[in-house]
Symmetry: C2
Subunit: 320 residues, 2 copies
């Protein structure tokens, strides 16, 4: 069993590759829910939806969120009626939010709702939200104080200068039963997908039960660098690193994760960073990491799984 930790687009793309390489019984995808929020009375789970739409092959390739072939009639009327329209909800996408909200109100856990939605979209590999109870990223900024994540991320377009993050509700987060079973069973490796270290991966790692599990682990943790050539492929990861005084490079990310990651997958563009990362005590695989097409996602996933299996014999850093 390989457990992949995923946020939005980067995580979703590697997940596509991993589902092509591993059967459903050997892969579990755990998804960040700390950027979930309530908007217009609807419960929205952006990362779960990005992973779901990407795995189903219906993700919007231009926007990087939402569905392909989307229409925006709901949104245009909502705006005309005076509703807030900074977070755009497509007509087709809306069906997921309405159904999820309805089921959550009836008391169905998010993990069970996710299972039903994935099953309707013929996704066979288990995709599990990191928590069935709300965890919410709060962004500390130098001027605007503490902001709700989507206020920072979408409404203010990541413009405020970041000074830190907290994940409200994460320590005592209610880990879904399906994930709890994984945490108790044998695991070959954990793969941290190339998602934002601060707002996609950190929330997952901050969930109490997951944190304990990783601290006591006897399996290796591999990560694909979300930073290539000093920049994030998508999103504000590099900007956040600079604002927090870190080096916005693959080496900076490796130092950020420290002992938690045993092996790094970095892009060929960063080949010169192989030795510096190895000097930090990590294994390094240099390969093509940009997943522009499905074929490249699959090729990368294959290398990542081989790398994970080659590391599986080694003692992980924290357990040495």
């Amino acid at each position: 069993m390989i457990v992949a930790l995923a946020g939005g687009v980067g995580g979703a793309r590697l997940a596509v590759g991993l589902t092509a390489v591993l059967p459903p019984s050997e892969l579990t995808i755990v998804v960040n829910t700390a950027d979930d929020f309530e908007h217009h009375g609807l419960s929205i789970s952006p990362d779960l939806d990005t992973v779901m739409y990407t795995l189903a092959g219906i993700a919007n390739p231009v926007l990087g969120w939402g569905r392909a072939d989307e229409t925006w009639n709901f949104m245009s009327v909502l705006g005309a009626l005076g509703g807030e329209s900074w977070f755009r909800l497509g007509d087709r996408d809306l069906a997921v939010h309405v159904l999820r909200t309805e089921l959550l109100r009836k008391g169905v856990p998010l993990s069970e709702i996710t299972r039903r939605l994935m099953s309707r979209l013929a996704i066979e590999h288990p995709v599990i939200p990191m928590s069935d109870s709300p965890v919410r990223t709060r962004v500390r900024t130098s001027e605007g104080g503490e902001l709700a994540f989507q206020d920072y991320f979408v409404r203010l377009q990541c413009k405020p200068r970041v000074t830190g993050f907290r994940f409200a509700g994460s320590r005592k987060a209610h880990v879904p039963p399906e994930l709890r079973r994984i945490l108790q069973g044998p695991v070959e490796a954990v793969v941290i997908c190339p998602s934002n270290p601060y707002v996609s991966v950190a929330p997952i790692l901050s969930v109490g039960a997951i944190r304990t599990w990783l601290r006591k682990r006897t399996f290796p943790v591999l990560a694909v660098s979300p930073i290539v050539g000093g920049n994030a492929i998508k999103g504000p990861a590099a900007k956040m690193m600079r604002e927090l005084g870190a080096d916005s490079t693959a080496l900076g990310v490796a130092r950020h994760y420290g002992d938690l990651v045993d092996g790094w997958v970095i892009d060929k563009a960063d080949e010169k960073l192989q030795r510096p990362i190895e000097r930090e005590g990590r294994s390094v695989l240099v390969t093509d990491t940009i997943m522009k097409t499905r074929a490249r996602s699959v090729a990368l996933a294959k290398r990542v799984v081989e790398f994970a299996r080659s590391q599986a014999g080694h003692s992980p850093s924290t357990a040495s």
Copy 2:
């Protein structure tokens, strides 16, 4: 001040005529809310929306509900994801339901939400829901027991045989402040629009405060017959009358309302019923009542207002 009581399409069409004939200060449109319901977690007010869309000139002329130029992408995905799709919600229409639900959850009264929506759609005449608290039509049927209104009306397409109705919550309904002021001030006449007597008008008349107001009235009540040539222009009114043992004619409707209505407006097709209705002690105006176009709505409204004013001097039946 003329107060019009309206349900769905027929009420909305006469309302269009009345708004053309009377200034906003001399007309109040009170709308049935007993077919409101909660579906997919959304608060839906079908009659309020039909009146709103019709007054705004954006009603769907083919369906008789919802908006013109509608798209159905939300609905098609909802169905594919396993959501109930018997009550169709258009993409544009959905914006109203989402906004209304959001505001209701925040504690904003339905009448205030209605005022804001109407104002956004540049509707100047006051349109007031009959109640700010939930009133729900329950349909008693010979086989299926008691049904929620939309289950009977939309899901079962009015097929069950009706034995009666009740309007849960109507006696102690919370009349909106704006309507309460109307009930306390001078009124020239009440006009009952050609809406279904059982499920559009009866719920309004069953609201405690409205019932008391009408019982003590010193103004006439006029009604436009919803039955023409033995049939309803739209909807199940005639079927209901037959199932309840009433004559499905304009005379049958006049007898159904009894003393409550002082003057009847009936269609030329029913001219032969003028004398029988007059023999019941009512005044009768015979004219064209089919509102196929906006011009015909305006023409009918003009006749109705003249008729109302000609009756205003007379003592109403119940006060005689």
